[in-house]
Amino acid sequence: MSKYLKIGLIVIVVLLLGSVAYAQDTLSGTITLWGWSYDSMSETGLIDAFEAEHPNVNVEIVVYPAGDTYQNLQLACSAGQGAPDVVQIENSNLAGFVALDGCLTDITDHVQPMLADFNAYKWSDAELDGRYYAVPWDSGPVVFYYRQDIFAQAGLPTDSASVSELVSTWDNYLTVCTTIMQTTGHTCFANSTATNNGRLFEIALWQQGLGYYDENGAVTVDSAENVATLEKLGEFWAAGVTSEAQPWTDSWYAELGGTGPDSTATLVEASWMGVFLKTWIAADIPGSWGVAYMPAFAEGQVRAANDGGSTLSIPAESDNKDAALAFIDFMLAQPQNQITQFAFNDFLPALETTYTDPIFSQPDAFFGDQTPRLIYLDVARQIPAANIYGRYYSLMNGHVATAIQQYSTGALSAQDALTQAADAIRTETELQ
């Protein structure tokens, strides 16, 4: 073989080998994450595991509370620069950013194969015109938390199945509340009037598949069904079984975590509330709380709704999208990694393929050895699609909360209050 041919062959082989090695891991550089829930990855070794798998990638986490995350993401998208590679966005705020043309990356091709693996309802906020812009992280299936000690005091059953039977509908729930108030003097749940934030109302709408707008985008805030739902909540105010505590305030914590006459008997809220009760709100009273299914709005209807839940998304400005996508895949689409996070923070994975894991059938000592996780995932599978979140959620929730405040304080009828809110929304969003 001629000398030149030999050299040429060697060069070709070296190039081939090099490109093969290069192709093994092309991912490199730093990816910056913005958000507030990454401790389920950093404290559990998942970040290290990811970096081990991709030795040339460095993960940097910047912790911001939700409001600051959204503000800074907005700034970056407006100015065209400064966005991170991965950003945490709650479902409630996601559609707003998806609608911000060119803010988030279109990852449709990547997520298409895994659409069916996640809770179906989680995708609606991530999607626009058939394209997808985020991957679901955790869900907020709404369940019924109840104080076993107070129920016992009121002569009611305390095991999960019986309680679920007892509060099978909102009407039955009202009966239970009245019983508790009469026999023990405890309030049933916190639902402040003048400072209502609308979340319970939204839960009640969600389970019926109702919402603030319809499939054509027209505003349905003042629909007959919505008015009826609000009036159903009104029955609880009329019966005097609710407390005025506002969520995330001192009096609310005192009600949930104490054993005095102030304490409240139940709480209809998403599964993430369980871990807060367990770790700090009611940490002193293990065994007092139990978990059951939330009431159906009417007999035979769905006993599932959603409150909260986050996603991860890649801003369009990111210059390391491949690594970012690999990160999101690793953390959210790998069942084992979602389970690791779940074990850390009890936030139900939106990835349904995890639901067969034995961790869900573990009894929880805090809840008196019940198995609430089985309830969480059962509920999550049944959550209907509802038009609550969406592009204008913040705006709509603001007006609806005001309407509820006006109704509950007796200033307006439910119809008038909701109509006023609906009209304001129509003016501001130019929807019908």
């Binding site: 507030w36 829930s37 990454y38 401790d39 389920s40 940097e60 910047v62 912790v63 911001y64 509370p65 939700a66 600051d68 503000q71 800074n72 700034l75 407006s78 100015a79 065209g80 620069q81 400064g82 995330w248 001192d250 914590y253 005192a254 975590g257 104490g258 005095g260 102030d262 993430w272 871990v275 807060f276 770790t279 700090w280 709100i281 940490a283 002193d284 909260g308 923070n345 936030f347």
Partner: protein, 281 residues
């Protein structure tokens, strides 16, 4: 001559002291709760009824801050930013305030109106354009935006103008007669006379800059560069991002201590060292 020890005076003094003590208690109550919370484990923070001193009190929160978060470094950052911002602001505002107070020039009232106007504009609508400017200057994630633009502080120039306007003109004229240049008048006559005002303003600037989070939030991007308010805000538990109250309170307590020391030091100097009536020549 005033009679010092009448009964009426004693009663007045006691009443005065009583009111002041009650007021002081009201002012300091939240701080006491902050310290108490910073020493509690997280599960006790929301106990009802609240305890002042928990039986499980410990300094764990403080230890965590310095070992697991870059708290010491953030504190240094905050010192640098607050110190630089204060110095620059004092100079610009004193100079500008003097110009407005003691000189007449065309457009003076219009310009001053503009200054007043910017005080009224809410910061929220300035965020996007400001961020954009900082991007163009490539000042994102540096301390420069926290020090330089703020020198044009409307509140500061307004204050210095009001303050300097109480200085009698005779003082200035006397120096002019003595042949001093305009800038020398500023430097040698005005500044010493208004030093109580400068110290007050300086204290307010320093504390304001130290505790500012709205602007650093949009400028500083790497956790090592954060100032203390940003670091404290990042002490949140995962999931809903609720504040980890004992850590945040510990952070706040540490954050206040340098400010307290500075205030105590300067209080002695500006009130007691420069007694009023030094306007003698």
């Amino acid at each position: 001559m005033t009679r010092r020890f009448t009964i009426r005076r004693v009663v007045e003094d006691s009443l005065l002291h009583l009111i002041l003590i009650l007021l002081a208690l009201f002012m300091i109550l939240p701080f006491i709760w902050m310290v108490s919370t910073s020493l509690k484990p997280i599960s006790e923070v929301f106990q009802s009824p609240p305890q002042i001193l928990s039986p499980n009190a410990s300094f764990d929160a403080y230890v965590t801050l310095f070992t697991e978060k870059s708290f010491a470094r953030n504190m240094v950052n905050t010192f640098v930013v607050a110190g630089g911002a204060t110095a620059l602001r004092l100079f610009f505002c004193a100079l500008g305030g003097y110009g407005f107070a003691k000189y007449n020039f065309r457009g003076k009232n219009g310009l001053f109106g503009l200054v007043l106007a910017t005080l009224v504009i809410p910061f929220g609508i300035m965020l996007i354009p400001l961020y954009y400017i900082m991007l163009q200057l490539q000042w994102i994630d540096s301390f420069l935006p926290l020090i330089i633009p703020g020198a044009a502080n409307a509140f500061g120039i307004f204050f210095m103008r009001q303050y300097i306007s109480t200085v009698p003109d005779e003082l200035l004229d006397a120096s002019r007669i003595d042949g001093a240049s305009e800038f020398a008048i500023f430097w040698r006559v005005i500044l010493p006379v208004v030093s109580p005002g400068l110290v007050s303003l300086g204290l307010i600037f320093f504390m304001g800059s130290w505790n500012d989070y709205l602007f650093p939030l949009i400028i500083l991007k790497s956790p090592e560069n954060f100032t203390l308010p940003l670091t404290i805000r990042s002490l949140i538990a995962g999931g809903l991002g609720r504040p980890v109250y004992n850590l945040q309170m510990a952070g706040s307590v540490i954050s206040i201590i340098p400010l307290l020391i500075i205030f105590l030091v300067f209080q002695r100097r500006f009130i007691d060292g420069i007694t009023a009536g030094a306007i003698k020549s």
